[in-house]
């Protein structure tokens, strides 16, 4: 693998893929419903969502294996309408890897090059280069059947990268690997993308995978794009409860809107009192209510006589030990649901007895408002 690049590769703002009002219907069912999205050149972009959300449908339409019922897709400024998969500037890493079992590693990687008629030495050079990129140097003569899952995945990557596509499409490429290998490959994929500078579009249902690798993420539900933003913004400023929930644990607290202006909201809650928060861009008021969310790790246990500017008091009702962290369920007077708190174990959170009264500190910045 290439050395990790410390500074992130600068991205341009030029659009690589433009998806305009794309709908894909199967009879009455809409697998993708009026999706509009721009993916930038050199970006690592993830389509994240549960199964059936339309993410794979969208990826397959970019690749040319499926066509929009309406709307248009362009890649590199060129409309893809009527262009079959074999003449698109995209290459794909399949979920099943789709390694040709009757060919060895080298022949698999050279498969697409054969048609380009590069000549033997140039072809060999490019195959070698691609194998080196994915750390498979020396395994060229192996048959697909003699490879481990992780190695097959690298062959699939090399086979696509060797074509020097404008866009590399990855369909759940890590889902067949075990946890440890998956985490290692996440890092490697990100490095590889930074090194080659090709636009990567990843489809995944694993939120950690998307957060760890992407420059930007589109979260999708039921054929619609719910939010497009950087991993940090998606995680910290989800536009609604569905997105917040999908990205990991979140405490939801009922709130009454007291004041609303262009940039901020003031809400009343039972547990956290009156809170002023930034108003999310996508916030659309729906009656007088709203929901405040706070991630479990943004609530900290206050030890002994320590005080914080913002705190809530409650009682521990459950404790779950997870090795490096402990999960506390804390009942707060006035809140209909107890709060989940994730605390690191370095100060002994794993020893707090159930039934203890504790105080929790929080930063009002960590509270995010969502429309009901």
């Amino acid at each position: 693998m290439p050395e990790p690049t410390q500074a992130e590769r600068p991205q341009t703002d030029r659009a690589m893929i433009e998806i305009r009002s794309v709908t894909r219907s199967y009879g009455a069912f809409k697998a993708l419903d009026d999706a509009t999205l721009t993916i930038r050149e050199g970006e690592f972009f993830s389509l994240l969502g549960p199964s059936g959300c339309g993410k794979t449908t969208l990826l397959r339409m970019i690749a040319g294996f499926d066509n929009p019922t309406s709307g248009s897709i362009s890649v590199g400024g060129q409309s893809m309408e009527g262009i079959p998969a074999n003449r698109r500037p995209t290459n794909m890493v399949f979920q099943s890897y789709a390694i040709f079992p009757h060919l060895n590693v080298e022949q698999n990687v050279a498969y697409g090059l054969k048609r380009l008629k590069l000549g033997g030495t140039e072809e060999t050079r490019r195959v070698e280069e691609a194998l080196a990129q994915v750390s498979l140097t020396g395994l060229g003569k192996r048959l697909a059947t003699e490879l481990s899952g992780g190695q097959r995945q690298r062959v699939a990557l090399a086979r696509a990268l060797v074509m020097r596509p404008k866009v590399l499409l990855l369909d759940e490429p890590l889902s067949a690997l075990d946890k440890k290998l998956r985490e290692q490959m996440q890092v490697e994929l990100r490095r590889l993308q930074q090194a080659v500078g090709i636009t990567f579009v990843l489809v995944t249902h694993d939120q950690y995978e998307a957060l760890a690798m992407s420059d930007r993420i589109a979260v999708m539900f039921g054929g619609k794009i719910a939010q497009v933003a950087s991993p940090k913004e998606i995680y910290q400023r989800p536009v609604n409860r569905q997105v917040a929930d999908f990205l990991g644990g979140m405490n939801f607290v009922k709130a009454e809107i007291v004041e609303e202006n262009a940039a901020s909201l003031v809400v009343d809650t039972l547990g956290f009192g009156r809170v002023r928060t930034d108003k999310p861009k996508a916030f659309v008021r729906n009656g007088g209510g709203a929901t405040l969310g706070i991630r479990p790790e943004r609530l900290r246990v206050l030890w002994d006589n320590a005080t914080a500017k913002f705190e809530v008091a409650g009682k521990v009702v459950e404790r779950h030990y997870f090795g490096e962290i402990t999960h506390l369920i804390v009942e707060i007077p006035g809140l209909e649901k107890p709060l989940s708190v994730t605390e690191t174990n370095d100060f002994g959170a794993d020893d707090i007895p159930v039934g203890t009264s504790i105080r929790l500190a929080y930063d009002p910045e960590a509270l995010v408002a969502m429309a009901d």
């Binding site: 690749a63 074999n86 995209t90 794909m92 399949f94 979920q95 059947t145």
Partner: protein, 274 residues
């Protein structure tokens, strides 16, 4: 104690397995043994070693005709049955539709129907259709009984053929025809060849249907049956039988090797992600 028990258990099992094999293959062993015996009657003790029964075979025009007919019928039946088998196996392994299992069952049914009943029914149908009996009608009969075997071999080869392989080929710039030539065909070729060999072997050895559906031309099994009336011709029949046995055995072995190779290729791919 356990060692002793294991010895006895192992001993009994070994003996059983040995008897089993003897029961299966003893009759078959007699054929080659008597075919190289000098005496014209198949009796022990053996009188001497000779190859003259084999040497006489190519000098019998009726036998050569029968062999030629068998070859024509075998090749036609195996090609036709395999073609039809490819279409059916592709549909059953590739698509999901209502009645898929029923259709599969109906295609496989001739395997367990009594051959003589099949032969008589086919004879009736052919006569009703006004077809005159010939090698062509034998071919039709053999296609019918070969399709289940062809299907068994081909579905094993096609099963798990990952559709994304063809998509991957297109994704890498290959045309539809190029994909068929460079991916689909090499992947399924072993299964197809295996099916051809199995069907050919079955047609070559088949007697009942050929007997009912042929006109004046004979195939090898019918020729052998005719020769059995003459005691003096028996050693020649044994020699011919031995040759057929060896041919069948070789063809089936090659077919099985190819079938396994085809199944391994596709299933290794599909199995991992199931």
């Amino acid at each position: 104690m356990t060692a002793m028990r294991r010895f006895f258990a192992g001993g009994w099992l070994t003996a059983y397995a040995f008897l089993y094999i003897v029961f299966l293959y003893l009759p078959v062993i007699f054929l080659p043994i008597f075919s190289i015996n000098t005496a014209p009657t198949p009796k022990f003790p053996l009188t001497g070693y000779t190859l003259k029964w084999y040497e006489d075979l190519p000098k019998t025009p009726a036998l050569l005709d029968a062999a030629w007919n068998s070859l024509i019928v075998g090749v036609s039946a195996s090609v036709l049955a395999t073609l039809l088998g490819i279409l059916a196996a592709r549909s059953i392994t590739r698509y999901r539709y209502p009645g898929r299992r029923t259709i599969n069952g109906l295609i496989m049914a001739p395997l367990v129907l009594p051959e003589i009943i099949l032969a008589i029914s086919m004879l009736l149908v052919m006569l009703q259709l006004g077809l005159s009996l010939s090698l062509f009608t034998v071919v039709l009969g053999h296609v019918l009984i070969c399709i289940p075997y062809s299907m068994t071999v081909l579905t094993a080869g096609f099963e798990g053929f990952d559709r994304s392989l063809e998509e991957a080929s297109a994704d890498l710039g290959e045309s539809a025809f190029g994909t068929f030539r460079r991916v689909t065909l090499p992947m399924v070729a072993p299964a197809i060849i295996s099916s051809l060999l199995v069907c050919f072997t079955i047609s070559l050895d088949e007697f009942v249907i050929a007997f009912f559906l042929t006109g004046t031309e004979t195939t090898l099994p019918i020729y052998i049956w005719g020769q059995l009336r003459f005691a003096a011709k028996l050693p020649g029949v044994l020699a011919l039988g031995t040759l057929l046995l060896v041919a069948s055995f070789v063809l089936m072995t090659v077919a099985e090797i190819l079938r396994r190779r085809a199944a391994r290729r596709t299933q290794n791919e599909g199995g991992l992600y199931a």
